[in-house]
Amino acid sequence: MIGWLAAHGRALGQALRRLRRQAFGTLLSALVIGLALALPATGLALFERLQSLAASVNTTPQVSLFLKESSGRDDRNRLERNFQADAQLASVSFVSRDTAREILARNGLADILDTLPANPLPDGFVLTLKSADPAAFQAVADRYRADAAIEHVQVDSLWVQRLDALLAFGRTVMLLLAGLLGTALVIITFNTIRLQLLTRQEEIEVSRILGATIPFIRRPYYWFGGLQAFAGGLIAWGIADGLLALMAPEVRRIAETYGAIFSLHRLDLLQVTGLLAFSTLLGLAGTGLALRRHLRAA
């Protein structure tokens, strides 16, 4: 075990010396890796945050019916009978204009409501449907829009479902992008190691003649490829954090226009660990492929 650790320590030392000797080339490769990984890392962090926000919103779609000011108790009773007979509805709740005012007042609009001479809000019903099919919502909305007692029909929360679907799609796109750019990372590392193997062919041959085993020859290359990709991961982390910080004020402003409190955070520990592990593993994979392809021939 000590011998194995010592061998890796020696290989790490060799890899660090090579990194230092080829500092500029290594930096360029790490930058390319960092840039390639920064986009999916930022996108995934953004979509994950947005998805958690969408998940926190009540996503059960509802239809709100606002009654005309002239409607009376008879209209309300008639509508309630219609609702009871409607097989598409799961539940119905009546929100009186006074209750609606209280809700708005609780949400910080009390000052504005106080300036008004009278309560401007109408009575209303909130209908919850059995089906989440947007077509069913449209049918229900159309049916009650025609009623003489109803002023306005509004389909609520459907946008959240649409947003959720869009976010899921965006996340999938980002994952595919991460896969594609991850492949690019493997190719970059493969090429770096391939060039090293070609330029160090004499050293490899001499080492073999002197009794070096294949693992002895491979170790420094694995360390080099892994360290370079790890550095790329660190750069990607920095870029992603920077991008999220730049976007945060704009996103917060947009969220505020919807009355939502939303802020973009920097990558958390789990995301950073995942990003660094992902880049390092891909770097090792690229190194492994290059060694398998070229060491035998060297």
Binding site: R10, V206, L210
Partner: protein, 221 residues
């Protein structure tokens, strides 16, 4: 003990480098292989180090068939040998000292022990103060000494040298020959291929002559 049993080696192009060669090298012996270019001397040495494998026959080393060794066992065989190849094969981008440390790193020696042994080997070949230089700055004879130092740094039981005195002027060549004799005097089995066995005329050893892959003569001095 190293034993060649009816060993033949034919290269992929069809060239027959060795044809049914049989002989034995005893422990602590100084063996000179002489013959013209293409006689099969280098092939014979490469067969001992498992750089090549015999087409027919067996190369036995301490009871082990070298030609049948698994690929992953070959490095461990080579660590027991000190190999000096025809063209030195020194790494020109590393210092003399780093060239000497390489086989010790391969053998898993600690950095401290490697430094100690490399310095001792440099002193042994008379290049005590040249460790920090790049091999390219040394003369041909000095580079040969570095190659010898690299071969002995792991204290091998068998030292194999392929034309170590080639391309050297007579004085340097005699120095190198003396160096091999001194290693042999210290108990190391030394196998040297040479165009000029007379360089070793003061040594007690055996000379095998090869011609076109066949042993033609044997002489003991």
């Amino acid at each position: 003990m190293i034993e060649f049993q009816e060993v033949s080696k034919r290269y992929p192009g069809g060239h027959l480098a060795l044809a049914g060669v049989s002989f034995t090298i005893r422990h602590g012996e100084l063996l000179l292989l002489s013959g013209h270019s293409g006689a099969g001397k280098s092939t014979l040495l490469k067969l001992i180090a498992a750089i090549e494998r015999p087409t027919e026959g067996r190369v036995m080393m301490n009871g082990q068939d070298v030609g049948k060794l698994r690929a992953d066992a070959i490095p461990y065989l080579r660590r027991k040998l000190g190999l000096i190849l025809q063209d030195h094969r020194l790494l020109m981008d590393r210092s003399v000292f780093e060239n000497l440390v390489l086989p010790l790193e391969i053998a898993g020696q600690s950095a401290r022990e490697a430094r100690k042994r490399a310095q001792a080997a440099l002193e042994r070949v008379g290049l005590k103060d040249r460790g920090g230089e790049l091999p390219i700055t040394l003369s041909g004879g000095e580079q040969q000494r570095v190659a010898i130092a690299r071969a002995i740094v792991n204290r091998p039981a068998v030292l194999i040298a392929d034309e170590p005195t080639a391309h050297l002027d007579p004085d340097y060549a005699r120095d190198i020959a003396h160096l091999f004799q001194s290693f042999n005097d210290a108990g190391v089995t030394v196998i040297v291929s040479t165009h000029d066995p007379s360089l070793f005329c003061n040594a007690r050893g055996r000379t095998l002559r090869l011609a076109q892959g066949v042993l033609t003569d044997e002489e003991t001095s």
